[in-house]
Amino acid sequence: MLHIVNKSHAQTTSLQSCLRLAKAGSALLLIEDAVYAATHAGAAGSGIADAMSRLKVYALQPDVDARGMAGKLVDGVTTVDYAGFVGLVAEHPNNQSWL
């Protein structure tokens, strides 16, 4: 399953709930303001650092770039472009966009 989160972990509990309910081996794509969760400054507080051992974590590169966060993501996060986003959706049997 692919989980997609688009809100900052500092603003809403979407990411927190997603991490609680994502099964090991699932994929997590961070887009829009959720990309801050995968930065060096954010990864511990957001739970991403802990989650990386059981989830495959992706971040949408255009959203990372837009926010000046390129080069500030923690190791182990894979960035994807829009085509990569589509590819992730296509390769997983189901997905959930957390609100």
Binding site: M1, T13, L21, N94, Q96, W98
Partner: protein
């Protein structure tokens, strides 16, 4: 007719602060009309959507909570509440206006992963 898909509606918002709870109900009824396999999940503040005794008359909003009791009539009978969310809000099954199945986070994660379509509200 197309094959039946498993639709899960994940409700995570309290009932009146946003329109999400009501919109979710509307879409659930549509999905049920198309004879799909529908589940409703209540997580986080979404548990407040099905608390007994809601009376929004004073805030000028229609009380849509009785609709959850009518879902049964549309063959929507799979209602799930995450135990952690319910307990964190000091609620028990006795506080809820419809019969639900209470699941742990782990059980909920399994259920979510087996759906064809998951819609968040």
């Amino acid at each position: 007719m197309a094959a039946v898909k498993k639709f899960m509606f994940v409700n995570r918002k309290a009932p009146f602060g946003t329109i999400y709870a009501l919109e979710s109900l509307e879409v659930v009824l549509i999905a049920a009309t198309f004879d799909q396999d529908v589940s409703l999940v209540f997580l986080d503040d979404g548990v407040y959507e099905i608390v007994k005794g809601q009376n929004p008359k004073g805030i000028g909003i229609k009380n849509h909570s009785p609709t959850y009791r009518a879902l049964d009539g549309y063959d929507v009978e799979k209602l799930y509440v995450e135990r952690e969310s319910m307990e964190a809000r000091g609620l028990t099954e006795a506080d809820l206006l419809v019969p639900v199945e209470v699941l742990s986070s782990t059980e909920m994660a399994d259920l979510m992963a087996e759906q064809d379509v998951v819609l968040s509200f």
